[in-house]
Symmetry: C2
Subunit: 468 residues, 2 copies
């Protein structure tokens, strides 16, 4: 299948001016990039880089496809219970590969595929209404995803779903309505799944949540909704091959990482705006935002030195955010790299009718089409940014399909890993969220966190002068 | 109705450490804040501050309510054609004030209210599928919103809707299916609306798109879907009163603006993260992002000096983004102010069932409720950020209703205006988007833009070395 393309011209100083990256910097960083690629490839699959091998995994994929075949037509609703890395990849896949109004269509229009709900929040109002007003428990399959089985949000949702199925349909029907994706051996969910005899899948120890979209975490919901899981993996494998090359100028992931690293360190431009120009790709930006932020935002480097690094990813959507964020991108501080994602070909063409021909200011639109307008706006915004001396990259997908998505996911995963090498940080941990988890346990009265609860209760009271 | 509260304690250096704002800085900036408030209040309603008077407008509101009454039960779908400021407020209102799955419910479950679609993009696939698979043209009302009537995205959508209604239902039915919101006299849409005899509303000259949510732009769709428009305006008026006071310590908008301005200029923390902890408020963050970015991101100050200022707003959603962005917020650069938005009381309470009591790691959750968990997580994240020395604000709504929303919108609007005074920039223009519009016209072959088209065609070709 055709490759996605990454055009880096418009980040270069020789094209956009002094706020761009000097080609010399790229030359200078090439040895470091080569080293990073070599290290990654040498260690691929080891420690936390198990995600490198996911495009080539066979066993669970086979099991997933068989399960999807068996379940075809049996459920009206798939409800994924998961948060962060357990949700974002699936949300991106839903937007890209299902009908844009999939969940609003009737069964026939959906070609028998179930609706797909992804519960990545614990908002009581949303949850209650989903359970009460939208789904029919008799025709619902819950997929609970938590590696540790300790994620408070997901596990409380699981408790709700469990209780609902058990009380409405009886214990013997639990197996029909619950599937678990969790650690192979450890954690709190695995023994529950075993005891209840649930269908289950494992997330390898060496695959972190934000790198798990190509594991059962993303693949099972995808398969259950009829997405082409094999093509997704083939796309990823295709990108894997491209990203093995040690030449910076041939390796799109290394180039993407190098540009962002240089923008941050040499130009004080740490903001990475991800701006897809296709509604179907809008949630890939959210998935990217987690990957980039959680992997690279770190207090200490590998030597233990306090560095407080981390580029900040930002989601924007074309053309929508031209009318919201582009004013700032064009005229504000020179602190951003904007990545456009476009497509060579949309899956259909929609004409703009030839009406109001005589009306100045809109007549020129008639007889053209929305595809051309979308493309013109992307190109125009790119030109405007370049002319204003703003760094921007253009990634182009041949079209929006599973293969392209697979390529795109893997591109950003490898880029993140390489950026981790540049920053010399551990891209796979998240020590900064521990404090919040502990405080949550304390506030929820979990045993063993009494000291923390006391500490919170004893915090200095807020000064009323500053409560307005 | 009860006021929303803004707690600013956790931005202060005496609470969170050296990366916080010194109370002295606030004292020092108070005279400037007083002056800004005075100037704004003196000029309120003049030039581009017409939005100041929207909470007190009577005439169009009456007309809107009458129209909504007349139209009740007559449409299955309302389709708003608008982008940027013509869409974001209505999207925020829909998420906050309608059922969280409103568009998926059947008519009875919606209590006869129509579904609400907001077309703020021109993606051909989404549009075609909305028109083909979702709406029934016989039961659809299109609300086209463009002040100038020249917005390419909105007007091309209008052309599509116009043609569809005319060809399917005949010219005499246009009036039944199209409503226009545009300038009172000028622009391309006004004469079309007049000629076709469409029901129409005007956006005052002195109300910019991003400040238009309380004009017919937001109010008409809201009223058509049964939202309490009067309560929305009352809430805004309530905040208007609070924001008249010249004391920085009593004026929540001035305090919000001062904190962000000081964070940017004194602490190099220009990133403003808006993080609501309620699914219903998630799209208020997008609305805020436009308001803040487009108003404050400016190349030149009022004296014409090149300044390239502008804080960058970022949307985050609690608790979801604890598993995505909070690692970066806690450990990355000290470049952010995080604003939490919480609610005192959700509209319902959802218990976590008492199951798996014996399972360590999740047993503590049983018998509690999701409301408490949500609140605990917000508080825990706030504590974790403060303990890591990160500036954060907490805005609390009594509950999610039209009155609170009105307060919140107006708070941010006034804060933006005051921040504009601090930065000494024009908060109401958007010169940075002109270049992109012109390039779009050129690429779409609009008459009069031939020179620009030639210039684009003559741009230096991309260097293939940098296309990977």
């Amino acid at each position: 299948m055709p490759n996605i393309r990454v055009d880096c011209n418009e980040v270069l100083a020789n094209r956009i001016g002094i706020n761009g990256i000097k080609p010399d910097w790229l030359k200078k960083i090439e040895p470091k990039a080569k080293e990073a690629i070599k290290v990654l490839q040498k260690n691929r699959g080891k420690e936390m880089t198990g995600w490198f091998e996911l495009p080539h995994e066979k066993e669970q994929v086979k099991k997933i496809l068989a399960s999807a075949r068996r379940k075809r037509g049996k459920y009206e609703d798939i409800v994924v219970l998961g948060i962060g890395g357990s949700a974002l990849g699936t949300i991106a896949l839903r937007s890209a590969l299902l009908h844009p109004y999939h969940n609003m269509l009737d069964r026939q229009m959906r070609k028998g595929q179930p609706r797909l709900h992804i519960m990545d929040n614990i908002d009581p109002v949303s949850m209650e209404h989903l359970f009460e007003d939208v789904i029919d428990i008799h025709k619902t399959l819950f997929v609970v995803i938590s590696k540790s089985g300790a994620t408070a949000e997901t596990m409380s949702q699981f408790m709700l779903a469990f209780e609902l199925v058990e009380s409405c349909l009886g214990e013997r029907n639990l197996k029909k309505h619950l599937v678990a994706i969790t650690d192979a051996d450890k954690g709190f969910l695995r023994p529950i799944a075993e005891e209840l005899g649930l269908e289950s899948y494992f997330i390898n120890d060496d695959v972190g949540g934000r790198f798990s979209v190509l594991s059962p975490v993303g693949l099972l919901p995808a398969a259950l909704c009829g997405m082409d899981v094999r093509a997704l993996l083939t796309g990823a494998a295709q990108m894997d091959t491209r990203c093995k090359t040690a030449s910076l100028y041939k390796n799109p992931a290394a180039m993407y990482a190098a540009i962002h690293y240089l923008a941050d360190t040499n130009l004080k431009a740490p903001l990475s705006v991800m701006m897809p120009y296709a509604s179907g790709l809008k949630d890939v930006a959210d998935w990217y935002c987690q990957l980039w932020a959680e992997s690279l935002g770190k207090a200490r480097n590998r030597k233990g030195k306090v560095v407080n690094v981390g580029p900040t990813p930002i989601k924007a959507v074309g053309v929508t955010d031209q009318h919201s964020q582009v004013q700032l991108y064009t005229e504000g501080p020179y602190d951003k790299v904007v990545t456009f994602i476009g497509v060579d070909k949309f899956n259909l063409k929609l004409p703009i009718p030839q009406v109001f021909k005589e009306v100045e200011g809109i007549g020129y639109l008639g007889g053209q089409n929305f595809n051309k307008l979308m493309e013109a706006e992307r190109r125009a915004t790119q030109i405007a940014l370049s002319d204003a001396g703003r760094m921007n990259l253009s990634i182009t997908l041949p079209k929006i399909d599973a293969n392209s998505l697979g390529q795109l996911f893997f591109l950003f995963e490898v880029a993140t890993a390489i950026a981790g090498e540049f920053y010399d940080i551990d891209a796979y941990n998240q020590p900064g969220v521990e404090a919040g988890k502990i405080a949550t346990y304390a506030l929820m009265g979990r045993k063993g966190y009494e000291k923390e609860a006391k500490k919170i209760a004893g915090r200095k009271a807020a000064d009323k002068k500053y409560i307005l």
